[in-house]
Amino acid sequence: MTYIAKPKLHHPTLPRNQVGFTRRDYEGRISTLCAGCGHDSISAAIIQACWEMDIEPHRVAKLSGIGCSSKTPDYFLGNSHGFNTVHGRMPSVLTGANLANRDLLYLGVSGDGDSASIGLGQFAHGMRRGVNMVYVLENNGVYGLTKGQFSATADEGSRSKRGVVNMDAPIDTVSLALIMGATFVARGFSGDKGQLVPLIKAAINHRGAAFIDVISPCVAFNNHAGSTKSYDYVREHNDAVNRIDFIALRPEVTADTGVAEVVEIEQHDGTVLHLRRIDPDHDPTDKIAAMNYVQRHQAKGEIVTGLLYADPHARDLHEHLSTVQRPLNQLGESELCPGAAALARFNASLR
């Protein structure tokens, strides 16, 4: 960590986005994580994605649990809303907040301990309910705040810094999210922002539960030979299935859309993801195939990254529940207390 604040001075050519902010305006306080922590790179990727998408910081709510990863919302989007929940309880607090005010962008930030151990149930239910959110799991395979014990996502056979071999089977959060009904599932790597930033942008664009598992090496406790979540190991075993080249505002009418390696996925709001396929065997709109693909390649020891599955017709919790279109805090007395006649009509409908 660093004692001094990052100087306010910035590059003379630092550009402003459509809403008048520079990238620096999306930063938070100086990180207190260890130097070189993958989580700081993820924070930088979130900053970059929000700046590029012209998001107004006051329209974002950041929610997190407990852990190194859950500290990070303090280090980005310093002008957004934030909530640090009880350990592993971020998904339920986020769900409640989302139900109350559906207009904000919900950014859930969690770690492997927070999501795969103490909060595994919360994680599963958040996914199956289709809460409209971006759920970023900063996955380093160890408990960094308590000096590097294996977490539930550590691979079987991987070694701790002190040489202990992990004998437990890992929880694969990507497969779990697919099974539990997440409608946008991706995996990124903190050491590859070129891939990660577009994934975050696509997840923000997605309506429904968007889950990104980001492998984020713990430099202090899990970046040695024998680790399967070190910079070197992830780089050597990274099997990127695709790259999001760009996100278009609307479907393009071009004669040449049938290029084999490009897949276009239209989202609910009409925007289109342009995916460049790296592995032609992988179809990101076929959920069963995606699950098979992930399992097959993981069995070979590969770390599958990229956009693994996106449901173009996804629906979210508000649609399931037929909730009112406006946020609750914008409803007036006449909507909330419609009067005796409305009550009578409602009662009559139940008879």
Partner: protein, 608 residues
């Protein structure tokens, strides 16, 4: 691109923009840190070693360091008015508060070389030669037509900018090293000087002739028209004590600025500067123009002198042709008449400050010394040796009029040559500068320099009250920084000499440095040629005068590219680096002066 060779002394030297721009390569950040630490005497000695006249230069330097200062570029789009560190005035702070330093200066060595060196003229270049050679045990004799040493600094720089005590003190430090000064002894003949059996002669006679303006009316009104530099020295010696009520100063250089401000103090009520070119193209330093305007002196531009107007042998005014600038394809400027009627300005006296020329009336043309077609001696540009092997030139006498700091730099080079010549050694190759690269790391995030970048704007130097300052030519206008302001100003320095040094083998490519860098200087990307790389960085690298620092290929085949342009040297990259692949290392470059390969000739000092 090829990996950057940081062992080449020029690479990191160029990053220290101020030091690179300084003709004498003064280690600026080093002495600014000493000022911040309150070690004024140490700061003074760093300067004294490099530029010989810190007190003089702290008031009068042309300060090429300041336009080069990184702080000015860094404040672009960050501060209302981007400005460099007030380097020059900090130098004066070191001189003002240094206290007694005489015991720390070198003394003449007991063992003498037996070699005799003559310096003609006692200006900054000659005195530099004298200092550098006297400490080596050579016998140096300095000749000057004036009774006191100092040359241009004493005779032409007005006292309200440079008090005489400052010159006396700093000239004294040199003469006290056992230099013989023969004041009032003008050398009229090179031949007879050579006959005196000197082993080497150094010519530092400056550019003593002011250009005249040969236009109608010049001779008729001669008694009211003066050549600027001659008039300034007459003022300096007290031969001129007053001036007419209405004064026109012709010319746009620093001499013109000194003339107009002096005239204002000698009774000129209506003093104006009239210049041929546009205001922005004037040769005078921007701050000197500001100072003149501050004292209520208007500067009128685009007016070409046509005639001195006179009645009955008395000057009554001047007529000027109005022009404007026209640029051709090559951006060459011509001044074209606007066709408007000529402008007439009334005046009682005119000071002509339209340039200086070299002149060597005392050098016999049959002595064998070669001159070029501009009347300048033919010299080796590095060794300053003339066509007669034991005669060397420096300062304005060598390559035409420049400034004090350039003269000092010439003096150092000539002294190296003269010392080697006297010892019968080859004059080339020149000695390499002395460089040191030292890690500043003291703890996980502690450095031996203050890396917390100051957000202060430039501090203005306080001035004496205008009515007091304008009443006498001897009252110094600028008062210098007080220690508290000096500290604040010193903290604006970015410590550009504390270099970001990258070790490829330690890097794990975690991106921490890229994310933390406030100025977006660092990029990890595929290699390419320079033009291509410059467009692919995290922030565009449009300043082609600033280098890219490129690492050898990393594990991912990418390279680390750092644009040096607006780096704050805040060290955050090194603080956030988990493996120590980035380190902050102080690059101290000191020019090698004459005889530096031999025992201690420099003042004692511990590190900043």
């Amino acid at each position: 691109m090829q990996p950057t060779d940081i062992r080449s002394p020029d690479y990191f030297h160029k990053v220290v923009d101020c030091q690179w721009a300084c003709p004498a390569h003064t280690p600026v950040p080093e002495y600014i840190r000493l000022i911040a630490a309150g070690r004024y005497a140490d700061a003074y000695l760093v300067n004294w070693q490099s530029n010989v006249f810190p007190g003089v230069l702290g008031r009068t330097c042309d300060r090429p360091c300041e336009p080069a200062c990184r702080r000015g570029r860094v404040e672009e789009k960050n501060a209302e008015k981007p400005e460099p560190v007030a380097i020059c005035r900090l130098k004066r702070v070191a001189a003002d508060y240094k206290g007694e330093i005489t015991p720390r200066l070198p003394r003449p060595p007991a063992t003498r070389t037996g070699k005799k060196v003559a310096c003609v003229g006692a200006g900054p270049s000659s005195l530099t030669v004298a200092r550098d050679l006297a400490v080596l045990g050579h016998d140096v004799v300095v000749f000057d037509g004036d009774p006191k040493a100092g040359g241009f600094m004493r005779t032409q720089v007005p006292r309200f900018r440079l008090p005489e005590e400052v010159i006396d003190e700093e000239v004294g430090y040199i003469l006290d090293i056992g230099v013989t000064f023969r004041g009032g002894q003008r050398i009229d003949s090179l031949k007879s000087l050579l006959a005196e059996e000197f082993d080497a002669v150094f010519v530092g006679t400056g550019a003593p002739r002011g250009r005249d303006l040969d236009i109608p009316g010049r001779s008729e009104s001669a008694s009211h028209i003066h050549i600027g530099i001659d008039w300034l020295s007459s003022v300096s010696f007290g031969h001129v004590t007053k001036v007419g009520r209405r004064v026109i100063v012709l010319g746009g250089g620093n001499t013109a600025m000194d003339c107009c401000r002096s005239a204002k103090r000698l009774g000129g009520e209506d003093v104006k500067v009239i210049v041929r070119s546009g205001f922005d193209e004037m040769k005078a330093s921007p701050w000197e123009k500001e100072d003149a305007q501050h004292e209520g002196i208007p500067i009128l531009n685009f007016l070409v002198p046509r005639r001195f107007e006179h009645e009955n042998g008395r000057l009554v005014g001047m007529t000027f042709e109005k022009v404007h600038a026209v640029y051709d394809d090559q951006k060459r400027r011509t001044l074209v008449p606007t066709g408007e009627p000529d402008a007439f300005f009334e005046c009682d006296e005119v000071l002509v400050a339209v340039g200086q020329e070299n002149s060597f009336p005392w050098i016999e043309r049959d002595v064998g010394l070669k001159f070029d077609r501009w009347g300048l001696p033919v010299l080796d540009p590095k060794t300053h040796q003339s066509s007669i092997p034991n005669i060397f030139f420096g300062g304005d006498a060598a390559f035409g009029p420049k400034n004090i700091i350039t003269a000092v730099a010439h003096g150092h080079e000539a002294a190296i040559s003269i010392d080697r010549f006297c010892r019968g050694e080859a004059l080339t190759p020149r000695p390499a500068p002395h460089t040191r690269l030292t890690s500043q790391k003291m703890g996980i995030h502690e450095w031996s320099y203050d890396n917390d970048v100051s957000g202060e704007n430039r501090n203005a130097v306080p001035w004496a009250a205008a009515e007091k300052a304008l009443r006498s030519i001897k009252v110094e206008v600028e008062l210098g920084f007080d220690p508290a302001t000096a500290f604040k100003e010193a903290q604006r320095c970015l410590n550009c000499d504390v270099q970001t040094v990258f070790a490829r083998d330690l890097c794990i490519e975690c991106d921490a440095c890229v994310d933390i860098c406030p100025m977006d200087c660092i990029t990890f990307t595929g290699n390419g040629n320079e033009a291509d790389l410059r467009t692919r960085l995290k922030a565009p690298a449009d300043n082609f005068t600033q280098d890219l620092y490129v690492s050898p290929a990393l594990k991912t085949e990418r390279v680390m590219v750092k644009d040096e342009d607006v780096c704050l040297h805040c060290g955050l990259c090194a603080e956030r680096c988990p493996t120590g692949a980035w380190d902050m290392q102080k690059f101290l470059l000191e020019m090698t002066h004459a005889g530096a390969e031999r025992p201690a000739t420099s003042p004692e000092r511990s590190a900043a």
